[in-house]
Symmetry: C2
């Protein structure tokens, strides 16, 4: 039985890194005897928007709903389509429409990638950010009043539900319980945001009672962000709301130096809908079209996808291949310019594919 | 004519660092011929709450409204009073009640304080975070429904007004215009938070047209936080909403290593109400009572207060004295344990006061 994968390259460097993601997945499929069935779509891109006046066809739920996973590049081309239009019309639709309520991002130092933090070596930083991915601060409720006048006011509601909070906490507690350090950190701001965040804290405290083996702590988001810089070794699994998780899952990879190569998974854990895998980086209009984008985020996202589909060994092998090529360094391996090498997107993708093929 | 200063030490280490803040202010007053008239209050502390069931007396507006400035220590004692009660009952009341709509925090590397970032030297990082301090995400509008059931939901509104946004932007543009690099960075999240943040962006764009000499850029908060770590030298003045400013003004000092010594000002620029000056650090229950808290945040806040009151030379002299003592290092100066020294709170305060006295 083959896994059906919907491929959407998106915009900008998304189109350049996607072929490398697919190249490596195909090698993994061969080596581990996995049947992958790819189907390509041109929607969920700003080019599609220019032609059709929308980011997705109206029947996108039916078109994509039957796939086992979505493999996405990067979306956004702000010169022609404002970000809140392109993102809300694609990625954020998928997350909600397919109830991908977990956003999972590893923050792990990688060999050959220097952390911007002093005295941090590969191995020092290794944690996950688990982000609520469907509600919270990313609501679409609210509006504007007294438009165009001095009295103009905008209001937007943050909406958190017990169901929404409890399910992301459960995922995070389970993940922490499986990790060696059994540690969960909750991001809050209950001292300032006085209605939603105290409720978040309550739910964390309630669930902590049912996981006595997991050590739980919490920090307000301001000092938590500071502690990512000051004490990144403190963290094992960090859980946060949609906005706090968004911030922390960029800041974490920044602290490891891996922001250009970090992957992410948007997961519907029950498998009622396809989950989506995409690099953390965006479409990078500034370097798009030059063939120098780093494809590792896309390739690593492919590894997370294989793990999600039940092929942990194949996922692990891809990450090992990435690490081996990174460890070889810019002299021995065709690393891209962001990694101080002279390699192209394609050359780096091929090097990882070859390493994986063995 | 003397400046009337209301002194509130607050909780925990607030009570230990406040005497040192006052010690240094008194020396500055002598040296520069400034008349300062201090009056002490025990409210705005959790001890007061325990006795009176509230953080502030009912007539606090009248009691404090006639002062020229408020000099605050640190507030919070979560073991007995939940943070959202103590903070909303004191600091956040002052900010709103006295319309202190600017929160200003320098992020500056200091001699003798090592940045946790690799390869960053004193002088490399020098910017201000200007935070909106009265509206935005810190609203008190919202509530809870279906309490105690599976359907439970909490809602909190973010409220931004044109007046509220424009006045903080104006302050930030003016500050950027006065600084050598003329650069302003706006923190946004208009790609995800689709109602309030696009409006924020609009107001920034509108005001940018009236400040042609200021270079303006914007980043989404996730990548902006990452760039604080990756490229702290990019920034000159950074402006953000109440929540984004809160996060960035902890993260910035963390990147310079100065989080334990950073000051902040809560300003009502028109002077209709007293402005408030307080260290960035909190009440630190873990080290309270031991006489080892670092008093520099309190002392530096005093310097910001004197500048605000029109005594720039005196403020500058205090900062010079702080820098001189820090530069002397833990062998020569009685630095506190957080700075790898063996000095007490009092000894460090005295050393700075002596340096200032000349
Ligand atoms: C204590 C808390 C309410 C406060 C805030 O979030 O404003 C603090 O973090 C600060 O930045 O002054
Ligand atoms: C592009 C944007 C809407 C998105 C988000 O904020 O969720 C991105 O930053 C991410 O983290 O995937």
């Amino acid at each position: 039985m083959s896994h059906k994968i919907a491929v959407m390259a998106g915009d900008g460097i998304g189109r350049e890194v996607m072929p490398e993601g697919l190249r490596v997945l195909k090698i993994a499929a061969e080596r581990f005897g996995i049947a992958l069935d790819f189907k390509h779509f041109d929607f969920a891109s700003c080019d599609y928007y220019r032609e059709h006046g929308k980011m997705l066809p109206d029947d996108w739920r039916d078109t994509l709903g039957g796939f086992d996973a979505l493999f996405y590049g990067a979306v956004g081309w702000p010169d022609t389509v404002p970000d809140h239009v392109s993102l809300w019309g694609s990625l954020l639709q998928f997350r909600r429409g397919f109830d991908q309520y977990i956003n999972l991002r590893p923050c792990r130092s990688m060999p050959g990638i220097k952390s911007p933090l002093a005295d941090r070596q590969p191995g020092d930083i290794d944690f996950y950010v688990v982000r609520e991915n469907t509600e919270g601060e990313y609501s679409s409720i609210g509006g504007r009043m007294f438009e165009g006048t001095e009295r103009e006011v905008v209001i937007q509601e943050t909406v958190m539900s017990r169901i929404g909070i409890d399910r992301v906490l459960k995922y995070a507690f389970e993940l922490a319980a499986r990790r060696p350090r059994h540690k969960l950190t909750s991001a809050t701001k209950s001292n300032g945001i006085s209605i939603t965040m105290p409720y978040w804290d309550e739910r964390v405290a309630a669930m902590a009672r049912t996981y006595p083996d997991v050590t739980v702590d919490k920090f307000h988001i301001d000092i938590l962000a500071a502690n990512f810089v000051l004490h990144p070794d403190w963290f094992d699994v960090v859980v946060g709301s949609n906005l706090f998780g968004d911030i922390l899952s960029d800041l974490g990879p920044a602290c490891t130096g891996t922001i250009g190569v970090a992957p992410s998974a948007n997961i519907n854990p029950e498998g009622h809908f396809p989950s989506l895998f995409e690099p953390v980086h965006g479409s990078a209009p500034d370097i798009a079209g030059r063939g120098i984008a780093n494809p590792i985020g896309q390739i690593w996202s492919g590894a997370m996808m294989l793990e999600h589909l039940g092929h942990e060994d194949a996922g692990r092998a891809i990450v090992d291949a990435i690490e081996a090529v990174l460890a070889a360094g810019p002299q021995q391996a065709p690393l891209t310019p962001d990694l101080k090498g002279k390699g192209s997107t394609e050359a780096l993708g091929k090097a990882i594919a070859e390493k994986l093929a063995g």
